[in-house]
Amino acid sequence: MHIPDGYLSPASCVTLYGLSSVSWYSALQRIKRNIASRTIPLISVFAAFTFVIMMFNLPLPGGTTGHATGVAIATIVLGPAASIIAVSIALALQALLFGDGGISTLGANTFNMAVVGSLVAYALYHAIAGSSEITSRRRILAAAVAGYLSCNAAALVAGFELGIQPTLYHDPSGAPLYAPYPLRIALPAIMIGHLTIAGLAEAVVTAGIVSYLQRADLGLFNHAQVALPAFPSKGSGASRLWLMVAVLALLTPLGVLAVGKAWGEWSASDFENQQARAEIARTSRQVEPPPTPSGIRKLSGLWTAPFPDYAPAFIKNPIFGYVLSAMFGVGVLASASAAVDRILRRKPKGELES
Amino acid sequence: MQVFQISAASFQYDGISAIRDLTLNISGGERTVLLGANGSGKSTLLRMLDGLCFPSHGSITAFGDPLTQHSLNNLEFNFNFRRRVGLVFQNPDAQLFNSTVFEEVAYSPLQLGWTREELHRRVEETLEFMGISHLRDRSPYRLSGGEKKRVAIASVIVLNPDVLLLDEPTATLDPRSTSQLVDLIQQWKGSTKTVITATQQLDIVEDIADRVLILKEGSLLADGTPSQILSNTQLLLTTNLIHAHRHTHGNVIHAHPHLHRHSHDEHEH
């Protein structure tokens, strides 16, 4: 599931690094406030543990073998914030030192496995285990399900990322520049392996460790959990970040000033206009553009359609569209950050805080 | 000068009493050995002396000041204490947590805020002293037991502490490294350094200490000179420090406590 360099476009890499960075920042704030000094060694050794677990070749029902990531058990024992950091560290070392997973795609890999994996595992484990006894069988079931589904959730996101590459990023002749398979091929290809093998491996490891701990060392469940503190006030760090983002959002209209249209950003009317067609051909190495592709024709009405004809003219202005898109993009990032914050903040029922 | 004063201290963890009602005074310049079998509380006592755990009952003072979580929260007191007392842990893998030997020895000075020049000078000096300069860029993972121990000791003496606490320092060492370590501790005889060594190895006790304390299940059983304690074979047997040696003569089974001692009159080379 580690995506290597070359499979994701620069834009995808940057976006996913952005989402990961927001998550790392949130997670670090959570941890620092609470455990402070103990964090550094705890996260380090757990990251090393995760790294080693990823190498375990586990025998599975049916005679196959598979690998787990250890994200679910890290979340159960350390809590999602510490898990996000620890697993990200393990993935970073795998990418940099062992060539497992790319460096440009590290943001994507950490987002898929560390962030999505931890959050899904956390939500499911506590949803199923509820406030049942620490030693109950229900916890084992919760662990297995959390492992299985968090693994598949990560794979799903990865499959999605890979599957949209050919549609969005291809050269003038239509050849995909990065991952070559569209969603309808990429998703099933990735999901089959995870639904049957990797997910099971994750379930086996997660449930196996929880059941062992129930018998051998209950203290681990309580002592190690990184308790979640209250939301810190917007300190200088957080507000500086948002200031940066706000500035960037305001600068986006500068893109309209770039001479000519960016390659690929043509509208349906450009395909019908002779002059525009010449321009398209020029920027596409003299390849004659086809008559308006049906997809573009369908999509082109989408922006103006919601606004009825009597709406003021500026709404249909592309510059306005740019700024609105930027604000929307920032809004997505902000909501993502708030969502991550909210999930990390929620204290699980019935668990002791250390 | 009293370096440590422990008064009726008790400490438990996980429901087990590790230290029971212990009272002890250690003076400056003393070389002491803590004898005791596994689980006797030696490690816990050393950690208490290093301000890493605190008694639930009773009290402990270091250099005249109370040693508590609260007093150590004061940054200046903390730095001062950490500079003056150093502990060499039993498990070298937990103690050596930096990526290279140089970084390891530089760790304490770095944390205590030394300047770059001071730090480099002192670290080089210490590496030289312990004979490990050639290991400076190596990862602790790949060192031998003896090398790890030398790095661990270097990382503690780099600050030139007044008190040196050693937790079973010979446990992972081969005989040659053991004798090198004993030589090192002997170097501090007669200096102002206070050395407290926890060990089960009886045959080095006379070389490294002037005072011997015996611990059993968290209590102080005996306090005397090496010759006093080591000749008390009954005591040593009951505290599991020596084994009863059995051999047979025909039908008779002969048992006596077994302890190797060397007297300095019968030296052989």
Binding site: P4, D5, G6, Y7, C13, L28, S37, S44, V45, F46, A48, F51, V52, M55, F56, N57, L58, P59, L60, P61, G63, T65, I89, L93, L96, L97, F98, G102, I103, S104, P166, D171, S173, G174, A175, P176, L177, Y178, A179, P180, Y181, V204, V205, G208, I209, Y212, L213, D217 | R47, L52, R82, F89, A94, F97, S99, S108, L110, Q111, R116, V156
Partner: protein, 269 residues
Amino acid sequence: MRHSIESTLHHFSHALSNALISEKIAARQTLLQKIDVRIRLIGTLLLLIAVVLSHTYRGILVLLAIALCLAILSGVSLFTLAKRVWTVVFLFTAVIAFPALVLTPGPPISSAFGHFQVTETGLRTAILLVLRVETAITITAVLVLSTPWNKLLLATRALGLPAEIVTILGMTHRYIFLLLETASQMFESRKSRTVGILHNADQRSGAGKTAAVLMMKTMDLGNDVYTAMIARGFSGEARILEEPRLRSRDFIALLAFASAAFFCFWIGR
């Protein structure tokens, strides 16, 4: 049935051997190795960005040529690269890229596979993918194989990572090998105690137990390291050794990297 244990052990030793090779190559002190690690790291990242931004073969091929030059200047033989990096990556990527030959819509160029037609776009995309992946991994491998790993991790400070993260990276790396060794020993002891053929379910529960025990040891280690850090003066704020100042040759190297990256980006648009 023993396959999974052996496969796991194989993974472990492969990881360990990677580290050892790097240490050997990094000791050669070739031209490029004399450049500050931080500059080499940033330079590598710039070249990597150029690889990912490239839309045509031209850009990528020039980058590959540059990577090969870097390899030689860094003391990494092309043979080592071929053996450790290219073959594995090529096989892996070729398997993934192969179906794209026939699945990508576009003008067909050959009916070599009967019903399935290889398209021109399919060929282009497959070649582009393989080239891009191989070049990217070559650029990274050259850096990693010719730099001591702890220095490389410390250099990430130059990327603006906070001191805590840089510390965690180094510490994790330091303990990965310890845990690998511990896990290896546990697996080997299980293997040697396995008489006859283990049923899959038993194998599974065995693996689960090993993972659990490893985790418990991990937590203990974490606590021990924390205590050791406190004992050495750690007071909550991570501090890292200052790196030596950059020299003029480092800035020249940075300029060279940046120009090369930009040039390749330009011709690859």
